[in-house]
Symmetry: C2
Subunit: 146 residues, 2 copies
Amino acid sequence: MNEQSSHIIELLKAKGLRVTPQRFAVYANLCGRGDHPTAEQLLTDINQDVPIASQATIYTALQALQNVGLVREVLLEEGVARYDANVHPHHHFRCRCCGEIEDIAWEVFQGVNLSALRPGLKAEQYEVAVQGVCDRCEPASINAFA
Amino acid sequence: MNEQSSHIIELLKAKGLRVTPQRFAVYANLCGRGDHPTAEQLLTDINQDVPIASQATIYTALQALQNVGLVREVLLEEGVARYDANVHPHHHFRCRCCGEIEDIAWEVFQGVNLSALRPGLKAEQYEVAVQGVCDRCEPASINAFA
DNA sequence: CTTTGTGCAAACGATTTGCAGGATG
DNA sequence: CATCCTGCAAATCGTTTGCACAAAG
C-alpha cells in the first residue's frame, strides 16, 4: 500500500464515496505522470490495454477526486481543462510550442507580496503562470522574444 | 479622434483588414469597461440599443483584434473565454464569488525572478493570477480562508 | 434492499465554419 | 469587379445529464 493508495482510500471514504477501479485508475494515472492531461488523454490512456472506464465515468471520477481534494483543474489553455494530482500550491510553465504544462516548485518564485494589492481585495491563493518554450521545442526557430 | 480610434485604424489597416463598425464597436466596448467580458456579454451589450453585430461576427471580430494585437484572451475560468483590451503585461485578480476579474498593475508584484526557472525553459512572459474575494462580495459569509 | 457508480446516448453551451448576399476599395 | 465582411444556420468540440442496470455496503 503506497501513499497514493492510502490517500485516495482515506479521502474518498471520508466523504462516503466508494473507491472504484475507475476512480483509482484515473488517480493513479494522474499521479504517475508529470504533465497535466486532458480528460480525453486520460480516457485513451487508461483504456489503452483493457477498457476500464467510459468517457462519462472519467468526468465524474475527476469530479469526485476534485471534491475530496485529490485533484485539481489547471486552466492555461483555451477550450480544455487539464488535471493535476499535485494539489500543493505551485506554479506552471506552459510551452507555447507543444502546449505541455510543467510544474514549477512553489519556492522558485519568492517575493510576490499579496499585501500590495489594493485594499478591498482579499487574496486567498495565487499562482504564477509562465509561458515560453521548453527544451524539447528549443531548436525551433519560432522564437518571438528571446 | 482619440487614442483608441487611431490605434484600431492603424493596426487593422497595417494588416490589410478593414475597420468595420462591428469591429470598432467590439473594441470600443472592450476599452470602455474595466472588467473582462465574455463573447456573449459583448454581444448583448453591443446590441443593447440597435442591433449592430451578430454572434458570429463578434467572434470573428475578436479574432481579428487579437491578430493585430489590440485584444487578448484571459483564461481564468472554466468553459468561457474572456477578453481584455489591455494588452500591456499585467496581473489578474478573480473573485471567487462573483467571478469578476480585475486588473492588477504590473508593478504591484515585484520580485518574480524568472531566472530561477530550471535551465531549459525559456520564459517569454508571465502573469500572477490571484484568487480571492472582492469588496462587493465581502459581506458574504462564504469565506473559506480568511 | 438501499445507496452509489457505471455506461450509453442524448443534451448542452461555447465556439467555429460554410455559404450566400452586401459593402468596400 | 475582386476582395473582404457579415449574418444565418449548421456543425463541432468539450463537458454534462438522464436513465437503466450493476455493484457495494
